[in-house]
């Protein structure tokens, strides 16, 4: 057999699984609508985009950041200010927010990407704190600080975010786009390199790769997708405040990525939905519910490293070996 055709066959089956997965995801979110209100599902999907952006950085490249909120917040504020001062067109605001997030990530990435472990996590947290200060205090005249500010986005064509089904459809498209891009990216040679960086960076360096560039590019992409989630918040919620850039909220995305299973886009989606529904149901019943997050985090760290997807995998693996054993025994008997 010609090796080229087999390669292209592999590529085409890969593409088919991507489309299959995308249909599954869309079906899953449609199935959530009867269970929750449609506006909650839209909210969940925006958060899921944010979790996927974080997972690219943490799950795939192994860099834990305590400052991903900075990029979400950059997307939120750039798109809001763009809609107020330049154009009320939602698509242009969205693009402005994403580009803004990518630029901030590109500049700060030059500083933080060379760091590792604790320094990386904490420097990101520090930058997030600086961003929070800039939005909340320093540029109060533009951003109205803690009081928040209303975005000036107007409906454009059928894209009207006050119309729930239209908003749902648009956000779902953005989520599928993010999933598609990240799936292609992480299964490409680029994805293999960033996963190798997670395992052992010096070996990747020995192979002749410029790891700094790969790490920087991943950081920028993660920032851009986080900013995409941010702009969707602007378009959908229409009113923004420094909550969207608050450094203490980073724990939410870390938690969501871990509970779903880090390093797995499905895990990011499951984690995002699980976290948001937990937050919704707990915060209405118990005023102080953060300790529950804490207890669950400890459970994950000590007993459930793979998260929900890891659990499912090991369960199916267990059942499969059990079944195989049973069959083997039957064969022996017979």
């Amino acid at each position: 057999m010609n090796p080229d055709t087999s390669l292209s066959q592999i590529a085409s089956t890969k593409r088919i699984t991507i489309y299959r997965d995308m249909v599954l995801i869309a079906a899953g979110f449609f199935a959530l609508i009867p269970l929750l209100a449609i506006h909650r599902v839209t909210d969940f999907m925006i958060f899921c985009i944010f979790v996927m952006s974080f997972d690219l950085l943490y799950g795939y490249m192994g860099r834990l950041s305590f400052g991903q909120m900075l990029y979400l917040g950059t997307g939120v504020y750039v798109s809001t200010l763009f809609s107020l001062h330049f154009s009320p067109n939602p698509i242009l605001s969205l693009m402005a927010g994403v580009v803004g997030g990518a630029i901030v990530a590109g500049i700060l990435g030059l500083i933080v990407v060379g760091l590792e472990g604790a320094s990386f996590a904490l420097t990101n947290l520090a930058f997030n704190q600086v961003g929070f200060f800039l939005i909340g205090s320093a540029f109060q005249r533009v951003t109205h600080g803690e009081d928040g500010i209303s975005a000036g986005v107007e409906p454009w064509g059928f894209l009207d975010f006050a119309n729930e089904p239209a908003a749902f459809g648009f956000v779902l498209l953005c989520l599928l786009f993010t999933f598609f891009m990240l799936r292609i990216l992480t299964s490409s040679p680029f994805g293999i390199i960033i996963r190798s960086i997670k395992e052992n960076e010096s070996r990747v360096k020995f192979l002749g790769y410029n790891t700094f560039f790969y790490k920087w590019l991943t950081f920028v992409l993660a920032g851009a997708f986080a900013a995409l989630a941010g702009t969707l918040y602007t378009l959908y919620v229409g009113f923004v405040s420094p909550v969207f850039i608050h450094p203490l909220n980073n724990v939410e995305v870390i938690f969501a990525a871990l509970i779903g299973g880090a390093g797995n886009l499905f895990g990011a989606l499951i984690g995002g939905v699980l976290f948001m529904s937990m937050k919704d149901s707990l915060s209405t019943h118990i005023p102080q519910w953060e300790w529950i997050l804490g207890v669950l985090l400890l459970v994950i760290v000590f007993w459930l490293r793979g998260g929900v997807t890891g659990l499912i995998k090991s369960l199916t693996g267990y059942v499969k070996t059990k079944m195989a054993k049973g069959m083997a025994e039957e064969v022996e008997k017979g």
């Binding site: 604790a118 947290l125 520090a126 704190q129 200060f133 205090s137 804490g294 985090l297 400890l298 760290v301």
Partner: protein, 277 residues
């Protein structure tokens, strides 16, 4: 201006008390301990509880609070932090952050959400160069220097200290000598927690006691540890006072920008340090 400098020294001293524990935990166990902020706030709330019991004698209540925190620190070390020893840094950070979430909610549940003021236990002040200086603040600075010297002696003269310093350099090497490194790490962890409590209690009369008081200082203290070098005890002392000064001087002109300035210094140090590596 002298007021500002004195304020910088006071903040620097508090930062030193707090950061020393973080620095030791990082240097010995490679663990970034977010739960340090919880211990810090918990100590202050213990103080509030003990104050009426010891008829308002501040030093005695401080002592009681420190003693009360020791078992908490021991439990944290024994059942969470020691289990993460040698694991990846991420899980340790997440687990200690989880402890911080749990502890903060516990504090809120027991003592409530509202900030509680604590009065200046001395209340006197003296004149220096025509400026009123509260005795209490001067005392904090003196105590920081005393603790620094005491720690220096502890780490260079006592056996326990020497073992810990050796373990900071090469944990496996010390383990190979047949020493139970974990036991000594546990001891310095409790020592670090006790110092954090002392810092929290000394700072409480200047600010107020509230459940998130630890969160505020935690980030700044991380900056202190990064600037001073993780596990570097003298470096921590110097950088605590340096960043305390940065905080005070920036705060004098633009109070909300103070934290940001500290992080700017930290970023500068990180960039600069990488270039000479």
């Amino acid at each position: 201006m002298i007021q500002t400098l004195l304020y910088g020294l006071t903040i620097g001293a508090i930062l030193y008390f707090f950061a020393i524990g973080l620095s030791i935990t990082f240097g010995t166990m490679q663990i970034i301990n977010f739960a340090h902020a919880m211990v810090y706030a918990l100590g202050v709330y213990f103080l509030i509880t003990f104050m009426p019991l010891v008829k308002g004698i501040f030093p005695l209540a401080t002592l009681c609070a420190i003693v009360a925190v020791i078992p908490v620190a021991y439990i944290m070390e024994r059942f969470v932090i020691r289990r993460l020893y040698g694991e990846s840094l991420d899980y340790a950070m997440i687990a200690t952050y989880a402890l911080l979430l749990i502890g903060t909610d516990l504090i809120k549940a027991v003592w409530g959400n509202t900030p509680q003021p604590i009065s200046d236990p001395i209340g006197l002040s003296f004149q220096l160069l025509g400026i009123d200086i509260p005795v209490y603040r001067a005392l904090i600075v003196v105590m920081a220097v005393v603790v620094f010297v005491a720690l220096k002696l502890f780490f260079t003269k006592s056996i326990v200290g020497k073992i810990v310093v050796a373990a900071l350099e090469d944990t496996e090497g010390v383990r190979c000598l047949g020493l139970n490194v974990d036991k000594y790490f546990s001891m310095v962890f409790i020592l670090g927690s006790a110092l954090a409590v002392l810092g929290g209690i000394l700072y409480a009369p200047i600010a107020t006691a509230e459940p998130y008081m630890g969160h505020d200082i935690l980030l700044i203290a991380f900056a202190v540890v990064i600037v001073g070098g993780m596990g570097n005890l003298t470096g921590t002392f110097v950088s605590a006072f340096l960043l305390g000064m940065v905080l005070a001087i920036t705060g004098r002109y633009w109070s909300q920008a103070a934290d940001t300035m500290v992080f700017a210094v930290m970023a500068a140090v990180l960039i600069f340090r990488r270039s000479d590596k």
